[in-house]
């Protein structure tokens, strides 16, 4: 009986070894299991979902030259060629200091505004252990459009700064669907009327649905807490498409806000979808890599 046991164990042992020998590949896999808890990539295709920021950053040592356009209102009719006569533009330079921290500078023709921002990836969604990604976003925007009235000269000084703080919380549910919730505060140093609040609280909701390998449909909505909302402003609703062309992403969209900065499109959206105040716009970018 002892002998038999010995034989069986020896047999099992030798069988195992012969097998390992026969298949080098499976032993490679066995000794080096493929990591399964990997960071999730491409929750969104760009650093913007439409107008608002997404949880995506520029990669380390990558510089993005971002050119964003918003045309005039479709509701302006044929005289203004349905808005195409009046383009506003934002030129931006955005850079990834690390894979988690990016900075950006921009200049918008709308209200002659300069802006700068920082975005930091606090938490990254992984395939197993971490269900969501969280980023923090902070920006400052300076409006330099000259105030033409005579009654309040102070409107021309640097008190016209506005700040935005956001927490971006996103999850890529599967290959084709991602969703983001964005609690936001916009602080305006100086407001024009008594009815405008200095602090505007809002929450953004945005989603991405992948339609094909190259095209995805995005939608974005910012709900402004009514008690902090300025009169005659509307909640921002935008929808658009991301189109991947090789190494680039081309975004085109329809929105009811002409401003491309948080203090504008969240706190001061003047257009109304019901009124056909729809602005057509697009973002194109060129990324330069300085990766060694």
């Amino acid at each position: 009986m002892k002998k038999l046991l010995l034989i069986i164990s020896l047999f099992a042992c030798s069988l195992q070894m012969v097998q390992a020998q026969d298949d080098l590949l499976s032993s490679l896999d066995k000794e080096n299991p493929i990591p399964t808890d990997e960071p999730v990539t491409a929750t969104f295709k760009g650093t913007r979902i439409i107008t608002g920021h997404s949880v995506e950053n520029m990669r380390k040592r990558h510089l993005d030259f971002l050119i964003s356009h918003r045309f005039g209102k479709v509701s302006d009719g044929a005289y203004n060629f349905y808005g195409l006569d009046q383009a506003t533009i934002r030129l931006g330079l955005e850079y990834g200091l690390t894979d988690r921290l990016m900075i950006g500078l921009g200049r918008s023709s709308f209200e002659k505004t300069f802006d700068s921002f920082l975005k930091y990836k606090l938490l990254r969604q992984t395939t197993e252990s971490t269900p969501i990604s969280i980023s923090l976003f902070g920006s400052a925007a300076l409006r330099t459009l000259k105030y033409t009235g005579t009654d309040c000269d102070y409107l021309n000084n640097t008190d016209r700064l506005a700040y935005t703080g956001q927490m971006l919380i996103a999850r890529k549910f599967n290959e084709s669907f991602s969703f983001q919730i964005t609690p936001t505060i916009v602080h305006r140093n100086l407001v024009e009327t008594k009815d405008d609040k200095n602090n505007v609280f809002a929450c953004g909701f945005a989603g991405r649905i992948k339609l094909s390998r190259r095209v995805s449909f995005n939608i974005e909505y910012f709900y402004v807490i009514p008690s902090t909302k300025s009169p005659n402003t509307h909640n921002n609703l935008s929808m658009g498409f991301d189109i991947e062309t090789g190494g680039h992403v081309f975004q085109l969209h329809f929105t009811n806000s002409q401003s491309m900065l948080e203090k504008g499109f969240i706190a001061d959206t003047r257009g109304d979808w019901g009124n056909k105040d729809i602005y057509y716009g697009f973002n194109i970018s060129r990324t330069f890599s300085f990766k060694k």
Binding site: K3, L6, I7, L10, F11, C13, S14, M17, V18, A20, Q21, D22, D23, L24, L25, S27, L28, D29, N32, I34, E38, T41, A42, R59, K60, H62, T127, E175, R213, R214, E244, T245, G246, G247, H248, V249, T287, S289, K291
Partner: protein, 183 residues
């Protein structure tokens, strides 16, 4: 009869133990691919390629994880993983095969070799014979260098395109691995 069986098994198990000791492995091999295109060249390097060679059976196996390929352009890397090789579904590329030539792994020298086996990329296996050069070093380690093309269509990888223009149909791949005796 019982005794004979016992002896036979003992011999087999001893032999296989011996054979096991003659597997050389590599865990930091290099693999790169390149394609010249009119717009932007496509290139990537993987520095974490695994491999093993059995000097008894004359067999070789190589494994590269797709996510370990690093591109100069990060967006291109994302597109590679997401749209072309679909790294989440097919995380690895592998080759396993048998070396056709007789190589004396105990003697220093350089040998031109070919290996016939299976190349798997993007979940699709193709029989391939790949040529390369093996150098047996003084310390017993084995250095392998190989260059081979991979036709994208063979592995059902869509051809990259820029503005609707298909720009590459194959990748020139290079492998450079040093195998050492397993400790």
């Amino acid at each position: 009869m019982q005794n004979l069986k016992y002896v036979l098994l003992l011999v087999i198990s001893l032999l296989s133990t011996l054979a096991q000791a003659q597997v050389l492995t590599c865990n930091n091999g290099l693999m790169s691919f390149f394609s010249k295109t009119p717009m932007e060249n496509i290139s990537a390097v993987n520095k974490k390629v695994l491999g093993s060679i059995s000097t008894v059976n004359n067999t070789i196996a190589i494994r590269a994880l797709m996510k370990d390929f690093s591109f100069p352009n990060g967006l291109m890397e994302e597109h590679f993983n997401e749209n072309y090789v679909e790294s989440e579904k097919f995380p690895k590329a592998t080759f396993s095969g048998k070396i056709n030539e007789i190589v004396d792994f105990k003697k220093e020298g350089t040998y031109k070799v070919t290996a016939t086996g299976t190349l798997e990329i993007h979940g699709i296996s193709k029989p391939r014979t790949i040529s390369g050069t093996i150098t047996v070093n003084k310390d017993g380690s084995i250095h392998l260098v190989s260059e081979f093309p991979v036709v994208l269509e063979d592995h059902d990888v869509k051809r990259p395109e820029i503005v609707m223009m298909k720009i590459a149909d194959k990748m020139d791949c290079k492998a450079d691995l040093t195998f050492i005796v397993k400790k």
